[in-house]
């Protein structure tokens, strides 16, 4: 488990350094995710310890967002000024985005399987 945690942290570190060095507009951990994915594809094997540690961390992803979420109390007042416009925009836009993404994907999948049938 410590070995697996070390892999995750070292790859995050490499990601952070790469981002700062290259100026790429991505967070370091996302680059670390890409690196781990490439390493797994290259080795074509997933060590059990890494799998267990990764799945444990990911299954408690909600917990990890709580400290940042509580940060709302610091800047919540910023929302107060135009709260109606902001709240409506956030609620409606989020729902519309979920719907549009899902429906477009579904349509393309259906189109693909339809195209296969006609071939």
């Amino acid at each position: 488990m410590i070995g697996a945690l070390a892999i995750l942290l070292v790859l995050q570190l490499v990601g952070e350094v790469a981002v700062r060095w290259s100026g790429a507009p991505l967070p370091g951990p996302v680059v670390g995710m890409v690196l781990l994915f490439l390493a797994l594809r290259w080795r074509e094997a997933l060590p059990d310890a890494l799998r267990t540690t990764a799945e444990t961390l990911v299954s408690h992803l909600s917990l990890l967002f709580i400290p940042a979420g509580v940060g709302i109390m610091q800047y919540g007042a910023l929302l107060a000024e135009e709260w109606l416009a902001v709240v409506m925009a956030l609620v409606l836009s989020t729902l519309i985005t979920v719907a549009v993404t899902a429906l477009v994907m579904k349509a393309v999948i259906r189109h693909q399987s339809g195209a296969h049938r006609h071939e």
Partner: protein, 243 residues
């Protein structure tokens, strides 16, 4: 014997209190979520944040004091993001086969997220600064704040909007997807990830690891695309906010 006041002085200065409280509130939220049969209203993040903010306000505790304890949890977001590569690796075959739908969904979703948020706020009389802060609201926090700064929004305001967006997506998206008769967990996960980044991804993992894998993929892809799209769309607007 020490008085309650003395004990409070000790606790208020130690990281232990708010670290422990965060874990306890999360567990309680999880328990409620399970007991309610996974009802959206009992989203663990929303519940825990509401409770903790109330507690902090009641006890007059500043956020910095809270964060000195909670930072140990916050820190794990980094390795957890790296760990998203594991479900992605396990479901890679599915991702590869859905390459075209993923690209199409990403383009449509990313564009919709930016334009609809700005459009709705504009219709309701939002100021240019608010509109520009809203543009990257569906993207993971560090990237969203960077974009907001670049196009003339207010990064700290964007950070709040990103979190609220995540909670809205986590709470409402599963019911919405059901209403739209979306049955494929890959599509569900990807849509939640595009619209509601990490907090949505946490919810997607409760649907299935397949949904979670696709949501995790969407976080990275949408961050990348919004970095390109948001400044482009902002430059088309008839106004420019001073950065």
């Amino acid at each position: 014997m020490n008085s309650i006041g003395d004990i409070w002085v000790y606790l208020a200065a130690s990281p232990l209190l708010w670290l422990g409280m965060t874990l306890a509130v999360y567990r309680a939220g999880q328990w409620l979520f399970w007991r309610s049969g996974g009802r959206a209203l009992f989203n663990p993040v929303a519940l825990a944040v509401t409770l903790l903010v109330s507690l902090l306000l009641l006890t007059g505790t500043p956020y910095t004091t809270y964060f000195s304890g909670a930072q140990f949890i916050h820190f794990l977001l980094g390795p957890a993001t790296v760990a998203l590569a594991v479900p992605l690796y396990l479901h890679w075959e599915r991702v590869r086969r859905l390459f075209l739908p993923i690209i199409a969904g990403l383009l449509a979703g990313s564009l919709t997220a930016i334009v609809s948020a700005m459009g709705i706020a504009w219709l309701l009389g939002g100021s240019p600064k608010t509109l520009l802060s809203l543009a990257p609201k569906s993207v993971t926090t560090p990237v969203a704040m960077g974009i907001a700064e670049k196009i003339g929004g207010l990064p700290s305001l964007t950070a709040v909007m990103v979190i609220v967006t995540g909670v809205i997506g986590a709470v409402a998206a599963p019911a919405l997807l059901k209403g739209l008769r979306i049955q494929d967990d890959a599509v569900k996960g990807f849509a939640i990830g595009v619209a509601a980044h990490g907090i949505g991804t946490a919810r997607a993992f409760q649907i299935s690891t397949l949904a979670g894998a696709f949501a995790g993929l969407a976080i990275g892809l949408n961050a990348l695309l919004t970095v390109l799209l948001a400044p482009l769309i902002a430059s088309l607007l008839p106004f420019r906010a001073m950065p």
